[in-house]
Subunit: 372 residues, 2 copies
Amino acid sequence: MAAPQRRSSREIRVGGIAIGNGHPVSVQSMTNTDTRDAEATLAQINRLAALGCDLIRVAVPDREAAAALKTITRRSPLPVIADIHFDYTLALAAIDNHVAAVRLNPGNLSDREAVGKVAMRARAAGIPIRVGANSGSIRPALVREMMNKGLEHDDAIAEALVLSALRECEMLENFGFHDIKVALKSSSVPVTVAAYRKFAARTDYPLHIGITEAGTPARGIVKSAVGIGALLLDGIGDTMRVSLTADPADEVLAGVRILEACGLRDASPEIVSCPTCGRTEIDLIGLANKVEEAVAEIKAGGRTIHLRKIAVMGCAVNGPGEARDADLGIAGSRAGKVVIFRFGEIVGAFDPAEGFEYLKMEILNHSKFVSE
Amino acid sequence: MAAPQRRSSREIRVGGIAIGNGHPVSVQSMTNTDTRDAEATLAQINRLAALGCDLIRVAVPDREAAAALKTITRRSPLPVIADIHFDYTLALAAIDNHVAAVRLNPGNLSDREAVGKVAMRARAAGIPIRVGANSGSIRPALVREMMNKGLEHDDAIAEALVLSALRECEMLENFGFHDIKVALKSSSVPVTVAAYRKFAARTDYPLHIGITEAGTPARGIVKSAVGIGALLLDGIGDTMRVSLTADPADEVLAGVRILEACGLRDASPEIVSCPTCGRTEIDLIGLANKVEEAVAEIKAGGRTIHLRKIAVMGCAVNGPGEARDADLGIAGSRAGKVVIFRFGEIVGAFDPAEGFEYLKMEILNHSKFVSE
């Protein structure tokens, strides 16, 4: 259960990353640099890769951007996905410049023939295509049709998203192309979750999940965590993007944290800390942040920490229980002291600053250089 | 679907707030002031109430804190819940000082008789008791017993949480007391969600949901949104607390946003905004933040905004579709201009600063003082 039972889906490969068929759920983001500026785009990709991004999408709005892909794909540490709208010749150029996948909306290409040309070029290159429907681009007539069938408004949108996506798959299937992943996006969390559940039950295509236009981080991270998290806990979703009006680094960090919360990416060491309350006699917020920073610093130094869980607790009510369950624990005690726990045993009582230093030393003692 | 189908649960009342039986899911937080300092505690409660908090819990670690409840309950704008551990006489004192509910862990009271005394005093006062199990305080022997029955580790913890909570309910039921809500808390999201699903299927007690010791906001908001959101989307949960190692204001804001994301609290106006990408020619992040601030400012001024959705979009790809679906929209256009949409119609193209002022004026035009 720590890792949810995953829906069985067919496998596709985007560069070196396998998607579907039980493979780890990958985190995507999208560059917001000018794609024509290959150096700026590569610098951003490198930064996102270091934060845990697995796949990167770049907008390809014109021929110059498509040409820049040659440099970007050669030097990117991550598989590059071309984001194409309207002009199918840009998809062909992107494929020729070695992108690992193409995202397009067959519905906004010029005609059936254009879709076929992209499908044939993608098959020749051995790369998948991501299609999908977005509530911003589904036909209002289709939503009305679903409502006339008795579905209420939100359910009608979810069904329309599913039907739109199935039609896009069919456009590719008609050319014998099945190397597909699918997204169904709405800015409404309940609509999105309903649409993915419906689609997941009807096909075995791997799913790219996310809440579209989720907004600024304050609201967007919550919306994305609710929607993506609910799907992942049900085993639905093979790759994901948190879509924020923010630096793409925030998207990657949120994506990684959602996977960790769902038990789908190793969070080691997990740092649990209780809320402060009227019982707290120590600076718990400061202490929890210092422990998080110490862990981040040790990991950024290239070391792996071999601890499952570190507990930072304010007082003795739940503290000892949680600390006992953790590999290392620090809990507020009487007279402003803290108590350190190690694998369930009390090490001793310390002044807070001293206790923190002791804890940091213990964390370091349980870490190794990755190459060791 | 915008509001999930809710599990049917029995109704309890905490002061003026009804919990269960389909009533709105309420947001709780817990003060982190010294409860003995009634003025500081009341100042914090007032601040949290203004942010959307519905119920407030305060720690009652000693007699002086219990005595301060007299002042706190008289002047608090929110129903006050006393958090009691170990000493049942503090629960009795809190009830005498007019708290609206008591949270206690019968398992850590001294004996059966103590539980009975609290139950009888609560019944006389007509207030409910929240009980619950926490993975930090369940008996390791019970987890082992579940594992011996063939459950894997996490599932054994979830089942042990459920059995522990049921036993706590039973301790109160034995005194004819059924005015109960229940929490089942673990710092693991999958364990928490599994435990609530199991418990929800076996009883009709209203549920207080949350992820315990979720940590600092960066991780804790994601963990809480995933766990609480997944349950709410399934209709499980009648009141909730986001538990963060942070200012309780952050808990309330996150709680409100989770409800909004699930369609369980009116977010009007919902502000959707797309991520930036290589196609964006305007300062979209700045614009989205400015629109959010303008809306917050108008609402803080005591006005209600009669708009369902405002869309802030970077470009013309998904922009017009989303903007058409929104009551008001602003989308990046060619040559650094923005286009304003109003109820699906294009109003015109503007320079960004001018467009923002126009949008703000339109928002103001669609707002009214709450008293009007």
